[in-house]
């Protein structure tokens, strides 16, 4: 059996943003790794794969599908080991249940780019076990040994030209005991894994038939909208709902508690009625005692804080070596990053039906276990009394995984009052843009002392930004005042910096914050990769060559992608006037990425003609998915550069309302073409959801710097 992950990877993953140290009781790790292997949890194949009489094979996916392609990739893994006929495979999303928890994290969730990384081994074993059970039945019927049988495309072949289809064997196979140990394929035997397999959900997403959480329709269902306080934590003082209730189809208007503060729920027969009724509410808000955050003031405050060291995240060597370096050979740089909203295309929603002794919920959720627990809590039930369906989600990027499960909580509170009636809670786009849970704003202050060899000899790095984990169930992961998610990408850099001091301040601000696709890497990679580029420019060394020299020798994945990028980006050498190339590389979630972009300036905006990306994600289970994730992830990453890519607050109020004020990247903002190159590897697969995001913004800005001679350290990029 092949090891799923090294111990180093495991520890990294468990301290990653989205869930960390919930050490799983369900480690499904092979004994090759641990000295004392914990008893492996048995995953019953029948919870994951069902062979129908008509030959279709339904594979249950223990993850939310929200674009990343997991509803195709995980079934591929299982189907390959099972020797199933891929053309008959159907994927389904698992409801919330113990057996569907992430084997590493111990809760059912999607995040940390861990779906394939954590479930690769698991789904392989499930497929192999399912196969073994089918073969056992055939062997028994034919009175031969399993070794005398082979399988291919949902058929068991026995001696003497005997055949039996999986569909014929399935019922009996289900009664067989699940084998404890199974032999897995050698990589050379893969028939599906490693192939460019088109997505299973393509057609339904092209013909309007795919249902998302927001599309749910149940008999008697009502729509609920919530009027939230204009400042986080505000409370309802009084409500005048006469105007609202006068509308035909308004069912109820009432106050609900929030995690902080209170709000007003409006329930109506239809969305438009609920929206109009909410618009007509006259609510007097009590905003006393809540901090009215203001981004202009926060920026000034953060810059002041950055002048002094914070809590120590890393201290290597002695940064006092800086003092030996003349001012002429120092770089002092201050970076500013705004709040960012995730803004997934499908507005947030959750549907709950409460029936007294049980409940049912339909949620496009990244955090099924937590959401189920919270719904149960609100309704006074045990979690297993809440049947929780995972709906397809229109994007998420981290937004559908909140530690307070605030969306399902609101839905449950409303459903509780409307007992017996299913209630669909919808957050309008305005609610979403203004509702908080942003990527926090940050300031970085960096001082670099450049050695005689042009390499950084001393590096002092101060980060200022809210802690994502403080005040959440994961707060215990904060050690010595350092929330690792704020410094990931800097502290764990593979660049060889001998005297390196990284400290962080975590101010408390009345703005709810959350992990945003690639989390701390979003800002840390930008700082590191623009500064390293500046160093390369000063040293008059090619930016790829400089990075290769600066990287530690054992940063194998990063070296491999820089090499591959160098090979594939020969176009860098022959660019026409007015165009420049920009380079960036970064490793996050165990996947290394290097990127080259070709940029010109058109209409005062960066025009990205092309991007070439090299990826090392270990074994690429589905190279087509990997390609899509990298093309898409680069585009998503450009949210950081677009001119209207900032959430700002004035006197506690969010200044943006919708996509008119907060405008994510459109087609004109992303590269025209993106070619993706995967380093061939048989190492265990690592994630592709988040790794693309951190590299694109620094790559583009590095190209701009070559065009204009300016440095860009304030995001979003409003002036070039």
């Amino acid at each position: 059996m092949q090891p799923a992950l090294s111990r180093r990877n495991f520890i990294q993953l468990t301290t990653a943003a989205t869930g960390g140290l919930l050490i799983s009781l369900y480690l499904d790790k092979p004994s090759a790794i641990a000295q004392q292997p914990p008893p492996p949890k048995v995953y019953p194949p029948d919870a994951f794969v069902h062979v129908r009489r008509d030959g279709h094979i339904v594979i249950t996916v223990n993850r939310l599908e929200f674009g990343q392609g997991v509803q195709t990739a995980l079934p591929m893994i299982l189907a390959d080991e099972m020797d199933a006929d891929w053309s008959n495979v159907i994927a389904e999303l698992a409801p919330a249940a113990d057996v569907y928890k992430d084997p590493m994290f111990g809760i059912q969730r999607v995040g940390g780019s861990g779906s394939i990384a954590h479930s690769f081994q698991q789904y392989r074993e499930l497929g192999a076990k399912a196969r073994a059970m089918l073969v056992a039945v055939a062997a028994e019927r034919w009175k031969v040994t399993p070794d005398q049988c082979r399988t291919e495309n949902s058929v068991v072949y026995g001696p003497g030209n005997r055949t039996a289809r999986y569909a014929e064997l399935a019922d009996d196979a289900a009664r067989k005991p699940v084998p404890q140990n199974v032999k897995l394929k050698n990589a050379s035997e893969f028939r599906i894994i490693g192939k460019r397999v088109p997505r299973l959900d393509s057609r339904s997403k092209c013909d309007g038939s795919q249902k998302f959480g927001l599309d749910l329709d149940l008999p008697g269902m009502k729509i609920a909208l919530v009027a939230h306080p204009p400042v986080f934590g505000g409370r309802v003082k009084s409500i005048d709902d006469r105007d609202a209730r006068s509308l035909d189809g308004v069912r109820d208007v009432f106050e609900i508690p929030l995690a902080k503060g209170t709000a007003v729920a409006v329930v109506a027969d239809r969305f438009w009625t609920a929206k109009q009724a909410r618009d007509r509410l006259k609510i007097d808000w009590d905003l006393s005692g809540v901090e009215q955050a203001d981004t202009v003031q926060l920026l000034a405050r953060y810059k002041q804080m950055a002048l002094a060291d914070g809590n120590v995240a890393l201290n290597r060597g002695d940064v006092k070596a800086m003092e030996q370096i003349s001012r002429a050979n120092r770089i002092i740089a201050e970076y500013e990053f705004p709040f960012l909203a995730h803004a997934p295309m499908e507005p947030l929603n959750a549907t709950v039906k409460f029936e007294g002794d049980k409940a049912e919920a339909w949620v496009p959720s990244q955090f099924q276990t937590m959401d189920q627990v919270v719904i149960a809590e609100v309704l006074g039930l045990k979690p297993d009394k809440v049947t929780f369906h995972t709906e397809f989600a229109g994007g998420g990027f981290g937004r559908r995984a909140t530690t307070d499960s605030h969306i399902p909580r609101e839905a449950a509170l409303i459903a509780k009052r409307l007992r017996g009636t299913p209630v669909k809670l919808i957050w309008s786009r305005e609610d979403d843009v203004r509702g908080g849970y942003y990527r926090p704003m940050h300031v970085h202050r960096v001082e670099i002392g450049i050695g005689r060899d042009g390499m950084p000899a001393a590096w002092r790095h101060v980060v200022v930004g809210q802690s994502l984990l403080a005040g959440t169930p994961f707060a215990m992961m904060i050690k010595d005042g350092v929330d690792e998610t704020a410094v990931e990408g800097t502290k764990d850099t593979s660049y060889n910096i001998p005297n390196f001091r990284v400290t962080v301040h975590h101010p408390t601000v009345n703005v709810p914050v959350l992990w945003w696709r690639s989390v701390g890497h979003t800002h840390n990679a930008f700082v590191m990769e623009t500064l390293v580029d500046e160093l390369a420019t000063r040293a008059k060394v090619d930016p790829i060559a400089y990075r290769q020299k600066l990287l530690k020798a054992d940063a194998k994945k990063l070296h491999s992608v820089l090499e591959l990028l160098d090979q594939k980006s020969g176009w860098r050498k022959t660019l026409p006037r007015g165009r420049a190339a920009g380079i960036a590389c970064h490793e996050s979630f165990d996947t290394a990425v290097a990127c080259a972009v070709e940029v010109s300036i058109e209409n005062k905006r960066p025009r990205i003609h092309r991007a070439t990306v090299a990826v090392n994600c270990g074994l690429a289970v589905n190279p087509l998915t990997v390609e899509s994730q990298f093309q898409g992830g680069l585009g998503f990453g450009l949210t950081q550069l677009v001119a209207k890519g900032a959430i700002t607050l004035k006197d506690g109020h969010i200044e943006q309302r919708n996509f008119d004020g907060y405008a994510p990247p459109y087609i004109v903002d992303v590269p025209v073409t993106i070619d993706v190159h995967i380093v061939p590897s048989t190492e265990p697969p690592t994630g592709c959801g988040e790794p693309p995001v951190p590299v694109i913004s620094p790559a583009v800005v590095n190209a701009l710097s070559r065009l204009t001679g300016k440095r860009y350290r304030t995001l979003p990029l409003t002036i070039i």
Binding site: R657, N658, F659, A663, Y666
Partner: protein, 198 residues
Amino acid sequence: MFASIRLLTPVFILALFAITIPPAAKPNAVAGLAAWDQVYSVLVSPRCINCHTATNYPQQGDDRHRHFANVVRGPEGFGVPGLNCISCHQESNADSTGVPGGSSWHLAPLSMQWQDVNDRPMSSAAVCRAVTDRSKNEDMDRPALLKHHAEADLVLWAWNPGRRPDGTMRTLPPISHQEFVAATRAWVEAGTPCPKGR
């Protein structure tokens, strides 16, 4: 006595102007120019100038920022297939959703641009020249200009611009439509004089 002062005042004014105005100018040119000032103030107000751009995009809002969602002019000023002006703008205002509307919503042709490529409004003299140039104004003569200001649906729209998505009413041009028409008439009757200079 007052009556005679009233009668004499225009005489004094005319005498004054006779000294200061070059002989070729019409006697009511000053009044005409004053009327044009009024007309110009409307033309460069957001409700009008936002669609009289020199670029391949319209503007929106009182701050005249580039219209969101990357909408473009298209070959005829009606947008492009898939993203026409009328993809969103209907034949009348949609107050419930905050989208203005009028008859055949579209951009004024580039010949009718009243701002430069950097989105800066052109001077009064430049706009006046453009508006009175029949090779640029779709061949409107003076009576046609007056009729256009008095009756054209998209012009009238400026005084009934509807609600924004946030529920507030869009601001109106600086003078009423009635005053705008009266000023246009006065300007037309004065022979549509234009200020001198750039």
